[in-house]
């Protein structure tokens, strides 16, 4: 940790140049501190690089592959790994490596976009509820309580079977599930913030509610939001893969890690590599994201770190 800059009594009589506020801020900004602490956490740093690797692997990889994820070669189905197909081929003779990369793109993409969707709903909902307070707050949070009580997996499954499946629906459904916790967390934070002097100052300056919320309150809860978001991404990926495993996620022929694991689990007797490889990539990504989230929490809020 960077020690806070001490200004002793003798120094304070020195010319103002030495106390340039820009320099002071630079030394101890929240994000710089956090990055510094994160770098010390080896596990979190390793996780960070794994996530970066997975991102490159899934988003750039498919362009480098000689195959596309839909190219079928019915003469070469369910092949074991070879030079031509490093991870073998699936039941329709499609290159498993390419499908793994595209599947990861779907899983990570859904994870990130659905998290952003749930984040926006949750942050705005929670902030508005806490800022307005009183009866409106009460009604809004009761609504969240009611939704919490519903067995969501069941409704997600119903929604996915009922409507024509599309990735868009997947975003909406998952986003609709995940924003609840976000709303609660943000509400708690904002409730603490709105009693502070700088908000009072903003009110007395005559700023609009909208402006106070967007410019003064929400930026202050961003740290918590970022931490929760990194932990939401793996949760979303999990939910998407869960649905895809049950055959309710993305529409074939588009793969996702969940549907690849499903194919593997159907063929464990003869072709265990079809299960092991996607399971490994999927679990490694979840690990990395979870550890990165934990590391970020420790880095952004040292008080809450373990013990």
């Amino acid at each position: 940790m960077i020690p806070p800059i001490q200004v002793s009594a003798s120094e304070s009589r020195l010319p103002v140049v030495n106390l340039d506020p820009a320099q002071l801020e630079e030394g101890s900004s929240l994000w710089a501190d956090a990055w510094h602490r994160l770098k010390k956490n080896r596990l979190a740093l390793l996780s960070f690089w794994i996530v970066v690797f997975m991102g490159v692997f899934c988003f750039v990889g498919p362009f480098l592959s000689p195959y596309s994820y839909i190219d079928q070669d019915l003469m070469r189905t369910l092949e074991s790994p070879s030079w031509a197909h490093p991870f073998g081929t699936d039941d329709l003779g499609r290159d498993q490596l390419t499908r793994l990369m595209v599947g990861g793109r779907v899983s990570l993409g859904v994870g990130i976009i659905a998290t952003v969707v749930s984040l926006m709903i949750g942050v705005v909902f929670g902030a508005v509820a806490a800022y307005l307070g009183g009866k409106i707050d009460n009604a809004m949070m009761r609504f969240v309580d009611v939704l919490y009580a519903l067995p969501f997996t069941i409704f997600v499954i119903l929604l996915m079977t009922i409507f024509e499946r599309s990735i868009l629906l997947l975003f909406v459904v998952i986003g609709a599930v995940e924003w609840l916790t976000m709303a609660r967390i943000v509400r708690g934070q904002v409730q603490a913030l709105r009693r502070q002097e700088f908000v009072e100052a903003a009110i007395s300056l005559g700023l609009s509610t909208r402006r106070i919320l967007l410019r003064h309150i929400i930026p202050n809860v961003l740290g918590v939001v970022v931490v929760f978001a990194t932990l939401t991404v793996p949760a979303v990926i999990l939910l998407e893969s869960f649905l895809s495993f049950l055959g309710l996620g993305v529409q074939a022929p588009l793969p996702s890690w969940g549907s690849l694991i499903k194919l593997g689990s159907d063929n464990i007797q003869q072709f265990p590599h079809l299960l092991i490889v996607p399971s490994f990539f999927f679990s490694l990504t979840l690990f990395a994201l979870n550890f990165l989230g934990d590391g970020l929490r420790d880095a952004l809020d040292p008080k809450s770190s373990r013990d």
Binding site: L150, P151, F155, F242, L246, I268, S283, F287, D307
Partner: protein, 307 residues
């Protein structure tokens, strides 16, 4: 206390009713009925089938009929089988209940002692080792854990059958798959709860008085330390239920979870409603039980309640 239980009971009935209503209209308001996907049949036959099941009547009348039958304990017919919904649930529910109870038992027997031990030996090799293992357990969702366990113990070691639900040994893999994830959660939550209590002043007082560390752990800290665990039981039971959808599919367990998923696929209205009703009752009962136990364990909540 009695008033509290009565109020929560009333609340549970409202939640179950809300879930039932939502399910009823969600399933019916969607395009395509249970017979639309079948081989094309003459319109007059379709009309007759719909009339037979009462599907030609206005929705609200159908809902009234359904509720009326429900009060008499009749969950309605199925469209895909000759059995009624009552018969299917009577046949499949005990299987799922058994699976769920084994899983819960495994989770408790593994998770609690590990969590307590990790808290007692905090920051030791035991602590880091078990918590890393718990992280692995959390990151491996049921649909990865299940096939992997089946591969190792079913295909490679041949200790258990890969699927089926006939002998006592067939219970092992599904229950382990479902239980291990929650064992991991329980361990982490118990550790956190215990640590919070162990840092409090009354524990230091007990230490100063010379109470043995074993007694401090089991007599002074345990009751308070288990509180977060108890509040997690509600979500855990809901999670075990949704996990059973996957586990029953992987291991071919003839339980209610598989029925629900296939009923949703087939748009088997009454079967969907019946299974969702069972789940809704289970989950709300679990939440109710958790709330009551929580109030009983935590005197502070009782105080708030009486004010």
């Amino acid at each position: 206390m009695f008033k509290f239980i009565l109020f929560r009971l009333f609340q549970s009935v409202v939640v179950v009713f809300a879930i039932l209503t939502l399910t009823f209209f969600m399933v019916r308001l969607t395009p395509g009925g249970p017979f639309s996907a079948e081989r094309r049949m003459p319109a007059y036959i379709l009309e007759r089938i719909n009339a037979y099941y009462g599907l030609d009547q206005p929705l609200f009348k159908q809902f009234g009929n359904y509720l009326g039958n429900l009060l008499r304990g009749d969950l309605g017919p199925t469209f895909t089988e000759t059995r009624t919904v009552n018969e299917i649930i009577a046949a499949t529910f005990p299987v799922s209940a058994e699976l769920g109870l084994w899983a819960l038992l495994i989770a408790l027997i593994l998770g609690l002692p590990v969590g307590i031990l990790a808290a007692a030996k905090r920051n030791s090799v035991i602590d880091y080792g078990t918590m890393s293992a718990a992280m692995v357990g959390i990151c491996l969702p049921t649909f990865v854990m299940g096939p992997i366990l089946a591969l190792i113990f079913g295909v490679w070691l041949r200790w258990f059958n890969v699927s089926g639900w006939f002998t006592a040994a067939d219970r092992v893999l599904p229950a382990l798959t479902l239980g291990l994830v929650y064992a991991a959660y329980f361990a982490r939550i118990t550790r956190g709860g215990m640590l919070e209590i162990l840092n409090q002043d009354f524990i230091r007082t007990a230490e100063a008085k010379g109470v043995s560390s074993r007694n401090i752990l089991l007599k002074h800290a345990l009751k308070g330390g288990l509180l977060p665990m108890v509040s997690f039981m509600g979500p855990a039971i809901a999670g075990i239920i949704s996990g059973s959808f996957v586990v029953e599919t992987i291991f071919q367990v003839p339980g209610i979870g598989r029925q629900f998923v296939s009923a949703a696929f087939d748009r088997d209205y009454f079967l969907v409603q019946g299974t969702v009703l069972v789940y809704a009752i289970l989950i709300t009962l679990a939440n109710l039980g958790v709330d009551i136990i929580q109030v009983m364990l935590n005197p502070r909540l009782r105080f708030e309640d009486s004010q």
